[in-house]
Symmetry: C2
Subunit: 346 residues, 2 copies
């Protein structure tokens, strides 16, 4: 197995800088759009053969160092008792959580019974890849999932979830607690099925101040991370808009902290200290640059981050209009820059 990403996550030496791309299985790939033309997004998530197929597509085409299982952070909300609609205009939860009674109606679930399709998709991906690269499992962070569950979908200023946090902190804590307890076995199932690395996506984590992160997110993230690390797999925590909160993120205990592009990666590293690896952090829009400028930027990030404990990625998901050849050029540029960096230091 190409274990560069696993070694980088553990801050062990690697022959070059490893790379994967958030949303690498997705709409920018024609082979993905072809499959997606035949089934809905949720059906695709729940059909192991198809989910495995789209998971493998970017590994074949781009040469990335890991496959992230095709799924959605909102998958666990259905077995917790909510109705979920995933349309082209983003997720919609028609019965949002707003009260203590709503939270009380949510429940844990047996992941194999309710989400066995995900475990099966991981196993089929591994078989299709012949374990040539690791499979990454994932979930949303409790705050981000709660935001969707309370807002009922995406949001501009997250007023509803934040009013819940500020006006009814006990209800908010009960909700985060319920989500956390459901996510731990859900993630462990992915590890048991063969995920070699796990990423927690906190897409809306940047909506909370460092103080509120500490109170309303940190304890839950710490619990998830410590339970996952006990299984032996490294854990990546990724949040957007959280550059100012790095001192709090450091306390999560994750092996890797993923950064968006709003900070220089060497500055992030400086704040995080030597005991944590970093992931990131090219602006997804940089894939629209001419190839030479793209390669130059990739090289800059590789050099700033250094040769040890860096997993290259975009600072957010790859966008649908991106040219797949640009993504391939990025992967090649990162590998070449990582090799050059190591040669220049030896």
């Amino acid at each position: 197995m190409n274990d560069r990403i696993l070694r980088a996550a553990r801050r062990q030496s690697t022959d070059t800088t490893p790379i994967w791309i958030m949303r690498q299985a997705g709409r920018y790939l024609p082979e993905y759009r072809e499959i997606r033309g035949k089934v809905s997004f949720l059906e695709l998530c729940k059909t192991p053969d198809l989910a495995a197929e789209v998971t493998v597509q970017p590994v074949r085409r781009l040469g990335v160092d890991a496959a992230i299982i095709f799924s959605d952070i909102l998958i666990p909300v259905e077995p917790m008792g909510m109705t979920l609609e995933l349309g082209d205009h983003g997720p919609h939860l028609p019965q949002p959580i707003r009260t203590a009674a709503d939270v009380a109606k949510l429940h844990g679930f047996d992941p194999e019974t309710c989400c066995g399709f995900l475990a099966e998709a991981i196993r089929r991906t591994r078989a299709a890849l012949n374990d040539s690269v690791p499979v990454i499992g994932f979930s949303g962070a409790p705050f981000t999932l709660a935001a969707y569950m309370v807002e009922g979908g995406g949001s501009k200023n997250f007023m509803t979830i934040k009013r819940l946090v500020f006006e009814q902190p006990k209800v908010a804590h009960a909700l985060f607690e319920t989500i956390t307890s459901a996510l731990i076995p859900y993630l462990k199932m992915q590890v048991a099925a063969g995920a070699k690395l796990v990423q927690i996506f906190d897409s809306w984590g940047g909506e909370l101040s460092p103080r509120d992160l500490r109170e309303f997110s940190l304890p839950y993230l710490q619990r998830i991370v410590s339970e996952l690390k006990a299984t032996g797999v490294p854990v990546i925590f990724f949040g957007t808009g959280m550059s100012g909160a790095l001192p709090v993120l450091k306390e999560i205990g994750a092996d890797v902290i993923g950064c968006d592009w709003r900070i220089e990666i060497d500055r992030a590293r400086e704040v995080l200290g030597p005991d944590v690896a970093v992931q990131g952090n090219l602006d997804p829009l940089a894939l629209f640059l001419p190839r030479e400028a793209l390669a130059e930027r990739a090289e800059e990030i590789v050099r700033r981050a250094g040769p040890v404990g860096h997993i290259f990625n975009l600072g957010h998901g790859i966008l649908p209009p991106t040219d797949p050849d640009a993504a391939r050029a990025l992967v090649d540029a990162v590998h070449a820059a990582g090799t050059r960096l190591r040669a220049s230091r030896s």
Copy 2:
């Protein structure tokens, strides 16, 4: 005149911590909604008597230490040659800028001829307030204005403006240059009319990486700030999502850097160094906390920021559902905490 804010902007001592609130003249106030019920948003901006009246309202009701003139960052785009519609669903520019030819059609304007209503509103505000507190003038930052002009309104991931930056950097620079040249006399007019302080709003500044900020924003911001400072008024730069870019923001040369709530204000101060004042940075949603918890948070920020060179503000605009009494309670809490802080140190 209550000159606390001017003194704080210059890092001179003050009897307590001064405060104003972004969007303090706005929809959360019933007296604002009453006037707004009779005229459109743009009419309100362009009618000096009414604009002055809504500018003064929060000074009366909240006891804030400054009045910010009621206007909109998009006001300059009309005299530059664009059509602007400001509806309840945000701004809409039906003929967005996408090409070099579009940029070439934009033009500078004489601010007194085209935006004399704004100068007149400032003069009437000063008269209504009897110069009891300073009036703050403002504009958008070139990147933020360009984002609206190119996207044609708000945006989720700013793909169009950022593709322009990455795919046609010369066109982007020409656009930023045109906007900058228009903003300088526009801001100087506000100072000539009696604005004692100027704020540059970079609402979307956080969409650019530090590297791109340096190339596509910094030179324009530096020019605006140095031209404005030459008139003798202090300049505040405020951006959202820019906690990771503070080392770049420091180079703008502004007297004050405003922060959103995504960083502890003492950490921001540490990065910015002793030669710049800070503004911020309470989460606007904290106004939904019980009064005691709100006061405790206000006090924490006052203490973290310290007694010199701090202007209290929210980390973003006050939200329409906010209770005006909570805003009043915040102002009182900040003044009380600022007095206590100074007493404890003397």
